[in-house]
Amino acid sequence: MKDLRTVIAFTIKDMAKRKSFIISTLIILVLIVIGFNIPNIAKAIVGDNENAGETNLLIVDSTNLFEGTLQTINQMELGYNVQVANNEVSFDDIKGKIENKDIDQAMIIEQKEDGTYKIRYIVENMTQVAMVPEDLMNTINTLYTNLQISKLGLTPEQIASLSPNFEFTIEQTEEQEVSGNILVIMLLSIVLFYAIYFCAYQVSSSITTEKTSKIMETLVTSTSPRIIVLGKTIGIGIVGLIQICLIVGVALISAKVFLDPELLNSVLDMSKMTPYLAIMTIVYFILGYFAYALLYALTGSTVSKPEDIQSANTPVAILAIIGFYLSYFTMMNPTSELNQFAAIFPISSPFCMPFRIMMGIASNAEIILSIAVLVITILIIAQVAIKIYSNAILNYGTKMTFKDIVKVYRDKNN
């Protein structure tokens, strides 16, 4: 146990002190802070006046068709600062006003020869506004309809019956209720996959480095291979978990400090971020990390040259990608049987189950089964990985083939 603590402590210190680790972590944190500040940076560049974000719209109603009702648009919070002109204003005059930044856009209400009306919407450049905004069209139509209705001399009840204010709701036939923004969940799933994958990859790289630097022979006479594999895996996992917590923490704080709360709530339902979800995500991170890290320990111990790591690790990478995509694509239909399978299948469950929990569709039995399957898988991988590591670490030849690995596993050396 003392040896295990020593290996863990050395691994943590060795990893956390590396310049490459410190610099890459700092760069990620700075990028996160910058990323959450993009709206503020954009605002700073565009200018920070009170009306920023509002469009100055000139509506030319020379025939006074709307009888002064157009000013009410300003109270509707549609993002328009409306000025109404009841006199004739030519296209050239409007062009001059747009060029001088007096207005952003304009609308000219014209009567055609047949008595109907045409509304021209004038913008500086159609690449920015390709079509007449729908909300504005609806508002103009409603204003005109209400104006005409008011002229019919109807009672308030009759007027109210013309605007029924139907309440629309949506319901589903399936029993399980899914909540949460699927796109955000998919994004978080990608983050979790990369966190697990890259932390686990470090284990392989660390073992091959020890073999390359020929320190292995000294190391195996100092402690047992089991302690080395477990100590290294736990040590790198702790550093990885601290790094992920740091990144997620900075991201959450940045989101809270720098983002508009309305924008944040529209993307991420913070009420779903419960301590239970956080604990379960950490549990799945740890278990997923252990499963993949031990597989990488196995492949890392079969090579002794840095240039062979990539090819030796390919089978594990393929397994991880299959697991990730199984989870990712079935998440589009989270109540499907395939997604339920992905949440229990050990190569995909770490990337899938936390999000089923987040969506509120994972039953307790499902969670227990998923964790049990993952733990049993980890124990089997650990047993195989430690045995192969013990027998293969002193092999300094060429990269071992699958046949060699099987032979090494059966070797009675340890």
Binding site: T6, D14, E210, K214, E217, T218, T221, N413
Partner: protein, 296 residues
Amino acid sequence: MGLKLENVSKKFVGKQAVDNISFEVDKPGVFGLLGTNGAGKTTTIRMLLGIIKKDTGEITWNGKKVERKSVNFGYLPEERGVYPKTKIYDQLMYFAKLKGMSQKEADMAIKKWAKVLKVEEYLPMLAEKLSKGNQQKIQFMTAIIHDPELIVLDEPFSGLDPVNSEILKNVIIDLVKEGKYIIMSSHQMASIEEFCTDILILNKGKTVLQGNLKEIKEGYKANRLELSTNKNIDEWIKEFNMEIEFSKNNEYSIKIDAEEKAHQLLKKLVTNHIEVDKFEIKKPTLNDIFIEKVGE
């Protein structure tokens, strides 16, 4: 007591790496384990350190079976290795702790040995900044830091300059004085002759010679005459049917099959008023014995 290997064998896929070897190191001193490349030295060392399991036989230390868990020997492997991106002090502390030392004990031992091996200034440096020779001294420190009773040194002098070789030799002499058991594997026969009391020569996994080095050498007849004269004596040497191994500036190394012949040659030279500065009848060196036993 001490280290005892009895009928130890190890077979790898298709190859008998070590074939039924036995030896005993029963008193403090340096034991020489010799052999050509691939003779089975490293496999023997790995078995006695408990890194790999033997197929047959028994290995005991002070009467107890040697197992990986129970072994706490010191080991300087032939494959030199350090953590390149880690400070020297940190890696020495790491290995010292793995070998059961406390932080305080380890710190004291690191400082003591760094002073003896003249590497104090390198302790705060990354290992990759050190020369190969200094890295080797650091690895030697790793082998002895925990004050083990038995130390295995595989090619301890390879790659060291004469100054550092001398430092290491003095440390080994001191360790023997302290009562340590040392097993030394080396291709440098001069080093083995200098330190070892007992030797074992392996060839293709089998023991071809073993015993006390002095006794082994005494068992061999003298086979070389070293002469230094004031003039060329090639003709007289040929007259006695002797073979010149090497000659330069009237210094000769001559193969002999009997000491008597050498004395007769000396008599002839003196009779002919040749000045003889050096006359030495030599027994085979360990190098000669090694080549005789394993050379094909």
